[in-house]
């Protein structure tokens, strides 16, 4: 499992297949780092760790494989790559597998993609399969949907998720609803993907979280990737799905490095990922906040708490099975998300959990979200807009009283 730490706190390197109980050393960094510290890990396939030792202080908060080589471990060593390369690999494999898969978006072709996700694909597959569009989101999203009605499988890239607001009509009415209003005649197997989320001082309009706006549209599925492993798996699953899928990537996660298996694998679109099993509190998160949570988890573990961290991955529909089992075990829920407080994914998740698992809760659900403000440019203000690990630690402490 890849672990990345925000530049606001100390960076720590971990080698995950060691079982040494050592306190990680803290190094202070000069000022803010612009990039991420890259951590290698060997975790590939199943994030479920082995049996936990109850009561023992777990110093390594990252979920580790119990013993390095489990029988189900891949025989090949796997290869290391960055998240955007993992997306590209998934995309390339699907394009090779299915000739109806095509990509359309701004600068995806000759330029190679503004985040290099489609680099090299235009040379390989030509202009008809990797299409450079003019800056016309409304119409090229509509065109992708029209093409999907006939059986093609377009992948529509928004250079930034925020630009897809211009295509909202097409996504809501035509993408989400055509299967229903045509009585099942047409299916729309599109994938709409793009980076969103708060970046590094990109300004308000380029730091939007659209998952809250899209979540009510009936007929679409939404997933958010957070590691190279699940990025590739979700990309492949989304392309293979016959339903319209919106794949939310995050601007700051593109340079995560991880070792992923050489074999072909696909993740399930509706399943959540157990990042770190625990006993005391369930922390639900997705996308970039996963890393803030994991960072907070280390602090919490040192303080004696045992948080269970679940990356919900599937934003619509929620994986209430995994979440429910976790709630039944820990009885306390903390949701950490990057969406706005009002009407965000956390709000819907709170409602869903309260409706279904109210009897299992010992305390009200706490939801940490971004502030209901446009993201400011100034670095200090931007930092406060988003949930930081310190706030997560405080919230867990309060929740577990």
């Amino acid at each position: 499992m890849a672990t990345v730490f925000g530049a606001t706190s100390a960076a720590i390197s971990v080698s995950s297949n060691s079982r040494k109980l050592h306190l990680p050393s803290r190094r202070s960094l000069p000022g803010r780092r612009a990039g991420f510290l890259v951590v290698r890990s060997d975790a590939g396939a199943n994030p479920n760790a082995g049996p936990r030792r109850a009561g023992q202080l777990i110093t390594n908060a990252v979920a580790t494989k119990a013993d390095a080589a489990a029988p189900s471990a891949p025989s090949k060593p796997g290869h290391e790559l960055l998240l955007f390369e993992a997306l590209r690999e998934g995309l390339e494999e699907e394009m090779a597998r299915d000739p109806t898969v095509c990509v359309m978006g701004e600068d995806v072709g000759h330029y190679g993609g503004s985040y290099k996700v489609t680099k090299g694909l235009a040379d390989k597959y030509g202009d008809l399969r990797v299409l450079d569009t003019p800056i016309a989101e409304n119409s090229f999203t509509g065109m992708g949907i029209g093409a999907a009605m006939t059986g093609l499988r377009p992948i529509i890239e928004g250079m930034n998720m925020g630009f897809l607001l211009l295509a909202f009509n097409q996504i809501s009415n035509n993408c989400g609803m055509l299967h229903y209003t045509s009585g099942g005649q047409f299916k729309i197997p599109v994938v709409i993907r793009g980076p969103g989320g708060v970046g590094r001082q990109l300004g308000a309009e380029h730091s939007q979280r659209l998952e809250s706006y899209f979540q009510s549209i009936p007929g679409i599925q939404m997933v958010a990737c957070s590691t190279p492993y699940n990025a590739k798996g979700l990309m492949k699953a989304a392309i293979r799905s016959d339903n319209p899928v919106i794949l939310f990537e995050h601007v700051l996660l593109y340079n995560l490095k991880e070792r992923i298996p050489d074999e072909e694998y696909v993740c399930s679109l509706e399943e959540a990922e157990m990042v770190r099993p625990g006993e005391h509190v369930t922390i639900l998160t997705y996308s970039r906040m996963r890393y803030h949570v994991m960072q907070a988890a280390k602090t919490l573990v040192n303080k004696g708490y045992d948080p269970e961290v679940i990356d919900i991955r599937s934003l619509k529909p929620f994986d209430l099975h995994t979440i429910g089992n976790s709630v039944k075990k820990t009885h306390r829920v903390l949701i950490v998300e990057e969406c706005m407080r009002t009407g965000g994914i956390g709000a819907s998740l709170t409602a869903a959990i309260t409706e279904n698992f109210h009897d299992y809760l010992d305390a009200p659900i706490v939801c940490l979200s971004s502030q209901d403000v446009p993201t400011p440019y100034a670095a200090t203000l931007e930092e406060v807009t988003v949930v930081q690990p310190a706030q997560i630690v405080t919230a867990v402490e309060e929740l577990c009283q």
């Binding site: 029209g146 099942g184 005649q185």
Partner: protein
């Protein structure tokens, strides 16, 4: 010119009469319906073009085709009028946009293309659906929200679709179907089908930005897209001169060629569509502006007389009605008698009434249908209860 003849039997020089006529100059209807002897007609008005050549005004047709056009248009007209009375008796609810007056566009287009070509239009889609091979029963069931409807009762008047014959709807939001149509054209080019897409929109939608975006992309990528502006001169209550600085919609493509067509003349429409198909397969997008007219208001909740005079409506009905034009042609060429045509109209009326009666028998959708077709079943989209034991909603 054939169209100048008004009387049904004109002894004397009619160069277009078949030379081997039976002793009686009138033929029986059943014979005419199979007769494929070519007849040459000229369209009522010449075409006007923008950045392209004009197609010829001379069109070849046959008695068989004339009778088919008459029959189909009479059926469409009757269907729309029946929908009007169904709406007034509250069997059809919501929005109901009627196409009577514009039948020539639907019929002429169908005559020029195959079912492999795609048509996509906006919400005034009842007759286009019928032209693409839909049945009256499907139309009326869908309008009344019954199971037998083409979209299982879940779409309504604005969402008719027929995938197997290339009819892609049926869209409620003005202008949104044009990028979809260009996407269909893209898919046709991608699959190297040698087919074209007709994306229909109205004069109101002609001012939508996404139209120009889609046109730009279609021209860049050389897509076989034909954008057809059904200009009935009113965008709901706003006349075209009040909505568009330049109401010459066929010229609005700038670098994209355009053709202005008399949309009330089914042969002009047929000729233009044939021309457009050939053009689009070779040279990329083209715009067709069909000068047409709707007798009803924008929809059933619009009387249609607050923004135009009744004289205007009845004037168009007298001078340019597409069915009347065919009728005159039929008489001019002695293909059928007045009585035969009236019998056809009665037959159409009967068909429509029967379809309505049958549609009324069709049941309302089952409540479980609320959750069907939200998702396509694939990659495990099933919503389970918390214990994963009960399936709360299986989405097929």
């Amino acid at each position: 010119m054939a169209l100048s003849r008004l009387s049904s039997s004109a002894p004397g020089s009619n160069l277009l009469k078949p030379l081997t006529s039976a002793p009686s100059l009138r033929r029986s209807f059943s014979a005419a319906a199979d007769d494929s002897t070519p007849i040459t007609i000229e369209t009522s008005l010449p075409f006007t073009s923008h950045v392209c050549d004009v197609p010829s005004r001379t069109v070849e047709t046959s008695p068989k085709e004339l009778m088919k056009f008459f029959r189909d248009m009479a059926l469409m007209r009757r269907m729309e009028i029946a929908a009007d009375s169904l709406y007034k008796s509250k069997l059809i609810r919501g929005f109901c946009h009627l196409y009577d007056g514009q039948e020539a566009v639907a019929i002429g287009m169908e005559a020029a293309i195959t079912k492999k070509d795609c048509i996509i239009t906006a919400y005034r889609d009842h007759c286009t659906f019928l032209g693409r091979g839909g049945t009256l029963l499907q139309v009326f069931s869908e309008l009344m929200g019954r199971q037998g409807g083409c979209s299982k009762g879940k779409g309504g008047s604005m969402h008719f679709y027929k995938k197997d014959s290339g009819f892609y709807g049926g869209h409620g939001i003005v202008g949104a179907q044009v990028p979809l149509g260009c996407g269909l054209a893209f898919a046709q080019k991608y699959s190297k089908d040698e087919t074209v897409t007709f994306a229909l929109y109205g004069d109101g939608a002609a001012n939508q930005g996404q139209l120009f975006e889609a046109l730009n992309i279609s021209a860049l990528w050389d897509l076989p897209a034909i954008l057809v502006c059904e200009n009935n001169h009113y965008g709901m209550g706003t006349a075209e001169w009040r909505a568009a600085k330049s109401p010459a919609y066929y010229k609005r493509g700038d670098y994209v060629p355009g053709l202005k067509v008399d949309g009330m003349d089914v042969f002009a429409v047929k000729q233009a569509c044939k021309f457009a198909k050939e053009h689009a397969l070779k040279n990329g997008p083209i715009i067709l502006e069909m000068d047409t007219y709707r007798y009803h208001g924008h929809s059933m909740s619009d009387p249609g007389s607050t923004y135009r005079t009744r004289d205007e409506i009845s004037g168009v009905r007298q001078e340019r009605d597409p069915i009347e034009r065919i009728r005159k042609l039929i008489f001019a060429h002695d293909i059928a008698t007045e009585k035969e045509l009236k019998d056809i109209e009665k037959e159409m009326r009967k068909e429509v009434d029967e379809a309505i009666a049958q549609a009324k028998e069709s049941p309302m959708p089952d409540p479980s249908e609320l959750f069907t077709n939200v998702y396509v079943k694939g990659y495990g989209v099933e919503s389970y209860g918390p214990d994963r034991k009960e399936v709360r909603a299986v989405l097929p």
